[in-house]
């Protein structure tokens, strides 16, 4: 177990070093920072001085080491566009995105798993076929189109739900939440559904195929022969095993979730990290772009490492193999 832990940690650190290297290269070489930060009529001496002050006259590896040092201390530089600390910007926007992702993940698990189990138990039922058909169409409809359609129906036609923003939020000092006001909750519904749809389809299909496989195994047949209650067989014996790959896939889906969050936040003008990144791309705000890249890398690596370890904890066979 300790061996697995150490090897996973080394892997995670290697990946993070690569990501910081890419971020550093972007930060340092995409556009000249001196050019971007100095006045237009700055003299050559002034530019040289700024260059020295930023440490840009040092060898590249020294610059890279300093860059990592700054990043570890949470100093991500200043946004070119807002003239504010990137770290502050990220801290401000993170709650919006995290709440959205939380809602979307909860929705996709709460709806996806039961639908998957149902269509595995009745593979030829009318409802199962309908679900399969809808999910095929769902995969072909891009996230932003789903979002726009939801806005057109629920915000424009029926005027039930807000179409943009977070509604009223409550400031808890270090966290702004939309969960505590009615308008904040209403504002979460449409973006939450939009973001959930993709992973919902995926989880549903996965649970369905896993359940179908597991229900035809010997131990299930044996449990049936023993006359165990059907409910116990399906939920305690079969579903538990079917959920193993769901853990992995949910973990691996973090990347897509981040990508779809960018799109969803743009459609709904949701003031989160995705929208921040999108504006950084449009206005060429390199420090924000690199910081977002670092953050995504960190989230990605952390979750993947946790999922790997979780898998070892859940599945005893893996432990035996590694030992």
């Amino acid at each position: 177990m300790v061996g697995i832990l150490i090897s996973r940690l080394i892997q995670a650190i290697t990946v993070m070093l690569t990501v910081t290297a890419i971020a550093f290269l972007m930060f340092r070489f995409v556009g000249d920072p001196v050019q971007l930060m100095s006045r237009e009529d700055a003299s050559v001496e002034e530019k040289e001085e700024l260059r020295a002050r930023l440490g840009l006259d040092q060898p590249v590896y020294v610059q890279y080491a300093r860059f990592i040092g700054r990043v570890v201390q949470g100093d991500l530089g200043m946004s070119f566009r807002n003239q504010r600390e990137v770290a502050t910007l990220i801290a401000e926007k993170a709650p919006a995105t995290l709440e959205l992702v939380l809602i979307a993940t909860t929705l996709s698990l709460l709806i996806g798993i039961p639908l998957g189990v149902y269509s595995a138990l009745h593979p030829n039922g009318v409802l199962s076929r309908a679900i399969q058909g809808v999910s095929l169409v769902g995969i072909s409809v891009p996230t932003f189109v789903t979002g726009i359609l939801l806005i057109l129906v629920f915000a424009v036609s029926f005027r039930l739900l807000p179409s943009f923003g977070r509604g009223q939020t409550v400031d808890l000092g270090w966290w702004t939440t939309g969960f505590l006001t009615w308008s904040g909750i209403k504002a979460l519904i449409l973006p939450g559904i939009t973001l959930a749809l993709y992973s919902l389809t995926l989880i549903m299909r996965l649970v369905r195929s896993e359940m179908i496989d597991i229900l035809s195994t010997d131990y299930i047949r044996f449990a049936r022969a023993r006359g165990l209650p059907e409910r116990y067989i399906i939920f305690r014996l079969a579903l538990r095993n079917a959920l193993l790959p769901v853990i992995t896939v949910t973990g691996l889906q973090v990347g897509s979730l981040i990508a779809f969050a960018i799109v969803t936040e743009t459609v709904f003008q949701w003031p989160g990290l995705g929208l921040l990144f999108m504006q950084a791309v449009i206005f060429v705000d390199i420090p924000v772009m690199t910081s977002y890249l670092l953050l995504v890398g960190l989230v990605f690596v952390t979750i993947n490492t946790i999922v790997d370890l979780l898998y070892v904890v859940v599945d005893p066979r893996l432990r035996a193999r590694a030992a």
Partner: protein, 301 residues
């Protein structure tokens, strides 16, 4: 690849695949022929007038028979804009697929033929690309391009950047498929023969091995075209794609989205319906082709 044995079991084309293929072909044909069949040229400033802006489709109250699907915020004929937009979307998608196929096939041939550390390196890079979400990588490429190229929004640069940003994502599947097929081919007698004849490696790879591994590439390309068109639309929608004066379908949806809230739904709905029909049709056709010609590809990305 014993394609002969697979071909013998001819699966009939189910009606819904037929319908999808027809719809897809119709849209692609209409898009390619758009300069001939569309009512006006929407990229020509003289063809539209602000007075006609935001007219609803012709069958609704207030509609104008000159504009079948209505007009956009600048008074452009929406039908023409969609046809031209679909053409731009498809051209960029095809360009991206071509780029991805070129990169992927070359790397796949090299990795499969040479093996050893080249193979390990290519496959390792492929794994990294596979774990990155398409949109995120494409946005990064677009972002860097915007920083390096001053007029990245221009009609000249925007398509090039889009093709690069999308193409760089999709080469992995080509590389993996071609690599596997090349490894099989490389041990065959004809390859040994041309090697003994002393042919240069590029000639062995592209003139002799490539024709034998190209079958699955065409099938992958159909599905990748749908994915590329979708990615292009998403990027344009997000604001890093085609500029509004040369709109792709994604740009039109983006423009329309800004007006949707005031009840002007047609600017965004019609391009969206076109996009979804095109992608769905290509996906259904591609899936069928894949199962028909190479069931082994099933389930890979």
């Amino acid at each position: 690849m014993k394609t002969g044995t697979i071909r013998r079991k001819r699966l009939p084309m189910p009606p819904y695949v037929m319908a999808a293929a027809l719809v897809g072909l119709a849209i692609i044909l209409a898009a390619i022929l758009s300069p001939l069949i569309s009512p006006v040229d929407p990229t020509d400033n003289a063809s539209f007038n602000l007075i006609d802006a935001e007219l609803p489709p012709s069958w609704l109250e207030g509609g104008d028979p000159r504009y079948l699907l209505g007009t956009d915020n600048q008074g452009r004929d929406l039908l023409s804009a969609i046809l031209y937009g679909a053409r731009i979307s498809i051209l960029i998608g095809a360009g991206a697929v071509l780029l991805a196929a070129t990169i992927g096939v070359s790397l796949g041939l090299l990795a499969g033929y040479l093996g050893g550390w080249v193979d390990a390196l290519v496959m390792r890079i492929a794994d990294v690309f596979l774990s990155l979400p398409t949109i995120l990588l494409a946005l990064l490429v677009a972002g860097i391009a915007r920083a390096v190229i001053p007029d990245a929004d221009s009609v000249f640069w925007a398509p090039i950047i889009l093709i690069a940003a999308i193409g760089i994502n999709e080469w992995v599947q080509y590389a993996r498929t071609v690599r596997a097929a090349t490894m099989v081919e490389a041990s065959r007698d004809y390859v040994r023969a041309v090697r003994i004849m002393g042919l240069p490696m590029p000639s062995i790879l592209f003139r002799h091995i490539l024709p034998n591994v190209i079958g699955p590439i065409l099938v992958i390309s159909t599905i990748n075209l749908a994915a590329a068109v979708l990615t292009e639309a998403t990027l344009s929608f997000l604001g890093v794609g085609m500029p509004p004066d040369y709109p792709s379908l994604g740009t039109l949806i983006r423009i329309g989205n800004e007006y949707a809230f005031s009840g002007i739904w047609w600017i965004t709905v019609f391009p969206a319906v076109t996009l979804v029909s095109l992608v769905l049709a290509t996906n259904i056709t591609g899936d069928w082709l894949r199962d028909r010609f190479n069931p082994k590809l099933r389930g890979s990305k």
